[in-house]
């Protein structure tokens, strides 16, 4: 190696270097560098080749999954309407204001502005902020106010340009325009809860609910859930990363739920509610040709609209804890001692089993004693009804002693077996959920329920519908209907037609008597009750332009000690007897059966019968030509009313 002088560009001689060796060294390094660069470039190329060519299909799928989303389109829930076509339940759009925080520049500013635009109070803002914290994913809208009206929507629209992230969402919400009037029968929908969700999953029905957030909770809304639901549609949409829909790729329309037409109608329902005049109770009327329930009132009621978007705990607590139990459907869930309304059936049992004949008579001293017992079972009428009481009169005047005696002679099991096909002690099969079966007592039942033997005294009480006996107003109405139709058993139901297609009435095995004339004996007794001169309810029905057969009843709420007298003034409101009345009309060709219960109404004739009259009027006067009156001969002398 030799050293050479080297001049730089400016000709300055700095110092000597071994130019050749430095050249070689640098060239070597450049080559190494080039090699490394080449290799790494190949590595990059290989990586992109791998992603773009080898894994292309995988990533194409992934990119499509990113942007294409299948969105369910909720079907509109079926409309429920009354017999006349008046809408009782419908789905109507409700507008909710939502805020998507990611699109808002300044959340405090936005909330302040909205507060002045919508008159929000501070609690709504607080609730919104809490919900905001509980969001599950970014870009999830948080509702601030629902049920926006047109004016509010317009005011937001005007200010929208300075309120990014504020969105108005339209949702189909169930609406019950009649509010309290049909609350128990129609029931209500509510948000699907976790338990229902699990059940849907078990039943493999979740796909029927995509995009649907509500489910029928009670009443017809629940019983006819499948018919009302409809079939959800779906659409494939392209969205960006924020979930904004850019375009619809394809769409399958939803199928709306079926329309249910009920036997109920607004006028009759309103008439019954008016007749109850705010008293607690239930009114049921059944059309006897179809089994259709034409009136179904349970009072007090509630506004089902409260439940649709979620009831607040304060409102719910008030409904749940009220001593008036407004949430209970008394028609099918309230069980009451039927009291004297059971007497026609007991009488029928006695006639049919040969324990009495139409001519059979007793003397009523005002009390009844079991052989060898001191205890006196008293008649409701002090001093008794006297002599010559046959079955006709026993029904008409509701003679207790007659039935004490008859029941004791028949024994409880005969009574049970005869009354059982009248749907007492078993559910009627009405198209509502939560129906109670009541109690039709028997030896077996008492043994099973209380592990106790049956005493003769139990039979005495059972003869007048007291003691263990319990029935719902619907059961009483159905039993009355079976009696009216002389053994034909039509299952009661509320829905008349689905999507305009009439449902066929369902029949159960009819009751066939050995002697069909026995029907007439009992029915004429009931006719006497309502329109005969000795009847307990003749004041109410004597001027009715149609024939009525009925029976009053009084159900004890508290037991009366042996030597005490039932004294209204000594009892609190809730200890008073329940008033009951069952009836059907017209007597010759029965069209409608009614059962009325007035809780703590004191007496059947005073409290319940007038309600039944109004319902029968409402039903029959519109439908029938003025009857060629087969009115009972001058019902001028009012019969003695039950206490």
């Amino acid at each position: 190696m030799e050293f050479r002088p080297y001049n730089n560009a400016q000709g300055q001689n700095i110092f000597f270097k071994d130019q050749d060796s430095e050249r070689r060294l640098f060239t070597g390094r450049i080559l190494i560098g080039t090699a490394i660069i080449g290799l790494l470039f190949l590595l990059l190329l290989g990586r992109y080749y791998n992603l773009q060519i080898i894994q292309h299909d995988h990533f194409t799928t992934q990119a499509d999954a990113n942007r294409i989303h299948t969105m369910a389109i909720a079907p509109a829930r079926g409309v429920i309407q009354d017999r006349e076509g008046t809408v009782l339940a419908q789905s109507k759009p409700s507008f909710t204001l939502e805020i998507i925080k990611e699109r808002v520049h300044d959340i405090d500013y936005t909330l302040r502005e909205l507060q002045s635009i919508l008159d929000l109070d501070d609690s709504e803002i607080t609730r919104f902020r809490e919900r905001l914290k509980r969001r599950e994913r970014p870009y999830e809208g948080v509702p601030l106010r629902d049920n926006l009206d047109d004016e509010q929507i317009a005011r937001i629209a005007v200010n929208r340009y300075r309120l990014p992230g504020v969105e108005i969402i339209a949702e189909l919400v169930r609406d019950y325009p009649m509010k309290e009037l049909f609350a128990h029968s129609i029931g209500y929908v509510g948000r699907i809860n976790e338990k229902e969700l699990n059940q849907l999953a078990v039943d493999d029905k979740l796909k029927n609910y995509s995009g649907v957030f509500s489910i029928g909770k009670t009443g017809i809304e629940r019983y006819y859930e499948e018919e009302l639901l409809g079939i959800p549609g779906a659409q494939n949409v392209e969205t960006d990363v924020h979930g904004r829909i850019l375009r619809t790729l394809d769409r399958k329309d939803p199928v709306r739920g079926k329309t249910l037409t009920l036997f109920l109608d607004v006028k009759m329902q309103q008439a019954a509610v008016d007749a109850l005049a705010g008293r607690r109770g239930a009114v049921v009327a059944i059309d006897l040709d179809s089994g259709g329930v034409v009136t179904a009132v349970s009072n007090p009621s509630f506004d089902p609209n409260l439940f649709v978007t979620g009831i607040n705990s304060h409102d719910y607590g008030a409904l749940r804890d009220s001593p008036d139990t407004p949430l209970m459907n008394r028609m099918i869930q309230g069980t009451y001692p039927p009291g004297s309304t059971i007497k026609p059936l007991v009488a029928l049992a006695g006639l049919e089993n040969g324990f009495i004949t139409p001519d059979y008579q007793i003397f009523d001293p005002g009390y009844f004693q079991l052989p060898g017992q001191e205890h006196k079972y008293r008649d409701w009428k002090k001093g008794g009804h006297g002599g010559g009481i046959d079955v006709h009169l026993a029904i008409a005047q509701s003679c207790d002693v007659f039935f004490y005696q008859l029941a004791t002679r028949m024994g409880i099991d005969r009574i049970h077996d005869f009354l059982d096909p009248f749907n007492l002690g078993r559910t009627t099969g009405v198209d509502l959920t939560g129906e109670k079966s009541g109690v039709l007592p028997s030896r077996l039942w008492k043994q099973k329920t209380f592990k106790q033997m049956w005493y003769p005294g139990d039979t005495v009480n059972a003869g007048i519908g007291q003691g263990y006996h319990l029935a719902t107003p619907l059961q009483l109405a159905t039993a009355t209907g079976i009696l009216a139709k002389r053994g034909i058993r039509i299952r009661p139901h509320l829905v008349k037609a689905i999507d305009g297609k009439e449902l066929l009435p369902e029949f159960d095995t009819p009751i066939i008597l050995n002697n069909p004339k026995n029907w007439d004996v009992v029915i004429s007794g009931m006719h006497e009750v309502a329109q005969g001169e000795r009847g307990t309810a003749n004041k109410v029905f004597k001027d009715a332009p149609y024939t009525v057969a009925g029976k009053t009843g009084t159900a004890q709420v508290v037991g009366i000690a042996q030597n005490e007298k039932y004294d209204v003034s000594k009892l609190t409101d809730r200890q008073r007897d329940h008033g009951l009345f069952i009836a059907f009309a017209p007597v010759e060709s029965p069209k409608v059966a009614v059962a009325v219960l007035v809780e703590n109404g004191n007496s059947g004739s005073g409290a319940a019968a007038p309600v039944a009259r109004k319902v029968l009027d409402a039903y029959l006067l519109n439908r029938m030509p003025p009857p060629a009156a087969t009115l009972p001969e001058s019902a001028t002398t009012p019969g003695e009313a039950e206490e």
Binding site: F41, L45, R47, V241
Partner: protein, 378 residues
């Protein structure tokens, strides 16, 4: 080979200079840069959400960049050598300024505001300042470097890099370090040093992991192996960019037709992740075209460096070329999931004025080196 060089020595007298040499322009490099910038603008138009506005802004930065490049090309190498220490010292002082007075943005202290000047990141200056300083340092010393020179050089590297990593800005720190290390490598650093350095680096890796790296940095490394573990969080970027690249295929979905980029699934699509947009919309063939342009630029730059007659020019030129490659490799590697996510833009394509100006200063220096040669060989 050595005899070839001897024939080119200045003793051969004055050679007539071409018009390009008078303008201090290297035509092949100039043309390649123009093509790449044009390609970059084409991609950026599609990638940026405001399309034309971003593209025009970027184009004006590129125009400015080319002017800066031509001006820089006119500065002689001896001048650069003289300026180098001042440049480096100023940069270092500014980095100190950042450490004490810098503005905090997104949890890091990277920016410096000096009244009368636009806000800037002094760490960017060091991308040029450090190789300049080292090239100048080794120019007047024997090559290959002796032990004490190596130590000095390492100190010159470590001081600014340490400050940058401390900001924290690991990505830029590594790039600045790379720009210094390539000068050492090109200066002919002995293999003993290189092997020792590699061994030390591997030994230090666990120490770095546990004591130096921040949580978010560790997370980025972990995401490399299993992005699905935090799909919506740290893994999001890498999953979405790979999906974009992969779904592009050979042909691509078409310019402005990329679903990943146009529907905003791809984050940072106009800056650090722009290669994913290019891959998705223009396909693998678009990637090949870009890599070819890059490769040609680097090849030309290395050629120029190799042809340089002075140590300074060789070291500076090759350092700039290799650093340019490092940017490309780190960016494309990170976006495709080969490397952890670090904030490195794709040269000449990603949106960003500073990056373009810094790159163009580098290419200006290379043009200067190229045209100071006594004889043109192309």
């Amino acid at each position: 080979m050595a005899s070839d060089f001897i024939r080119q020595l200045p003793s051969s007298g004055k050679i007539p200079r071409s018009i390009w040499q008078k303008l201090h322009i290297d035509p092949p490099l100039f043309l390649l840069l123009l093509l790449t910038c044009g390609y970059g603008l084409f991609v950026l138009y599609s990638a940026a959400s405001d399309h034309r506005i971003s593209m025009e802004k970027q184009a004006s930065f590129m125009g400015l960049g080319f002017m800066v490049m031509l001006m820089v090309a006119h500065v002689s190498q001896s001048t650069w050598r003289l300026i180098a220490p001042f440049f480096y010292t100023t940069g270092f002082i500014l980095l100190l300024g950042v450490a004490f007075f810098g503005e905090i943005s997104l949890g890091a202290r990277r920016w410096l505001s000096i009244p009368g000047l636009p806000r800037f990141q002094p760490s960017e200056m060091m991308k040029i300042g450090l190789p300049l300083m080292l090239a100048s340092y080794f120019h007047s010393r024997s090559v290959p470097p002796r032990f004490k020179h190596v130590i000095c050089a390492l100190l010159l590297i470590a001081l600014p890099v340490g400050l940058i990593v401390k900001q924290p800005d690991l990505g830029t720190g590594m790039l600045v370090m790379a720009s210094g290390v390539v000068v050492l490598f090109m200066s002919g650093l002995g293999w003993g040093y290189i092997l020792t350095a590699l061994a030390t680096a591997s030994a230090m890796a666990p120490v770095m992991w546990f004591f130096v790296m921040h949580d978010y940095q560790r997370m980025r490394v972990l995401m490399l192996f299993d992005p699905e573990s935090d799909k919506l969080g740290a893994g999001w970027n890498i999953i979405q960019s790979q999906t974009a690249i992969g779904s592009g295929g050979w042909q691509g979905k078409g310019w402005q037709m990329g679903t990943q980029s146009q529907l905003d699934f791809l984050p940072e699509s106009h800056t650090d992740f722009i290669i994913a947009v290019l891959s998705e919309e223009l396909g693998f063939r678009g990637v090949i075209l870009l890599l070819t342009l890059y490769l040609l630029i680097i090849a030309r730059c290395l050629w120029i460096s190799w042809r340089a007659q002075e140590t300074f020019g060789r070291l500076l030129g090759s350092a700039i070329s290799l650093t340019f490659f490092v940017y490309i490799f780190v960016n494309m590697g990170m976006v495709s999931g080969l490397l952890p996510v670090v904030g490195v833009p794709l040269p000449l394509v990603s949106q960003g004025g500073t990056a373009i100006i810094i790159l163009m200063i580098g290419f200006g220096m290379l043009m200067g080196i190229s045209t100071e040669q006594k004889r043109s060989l192309f």
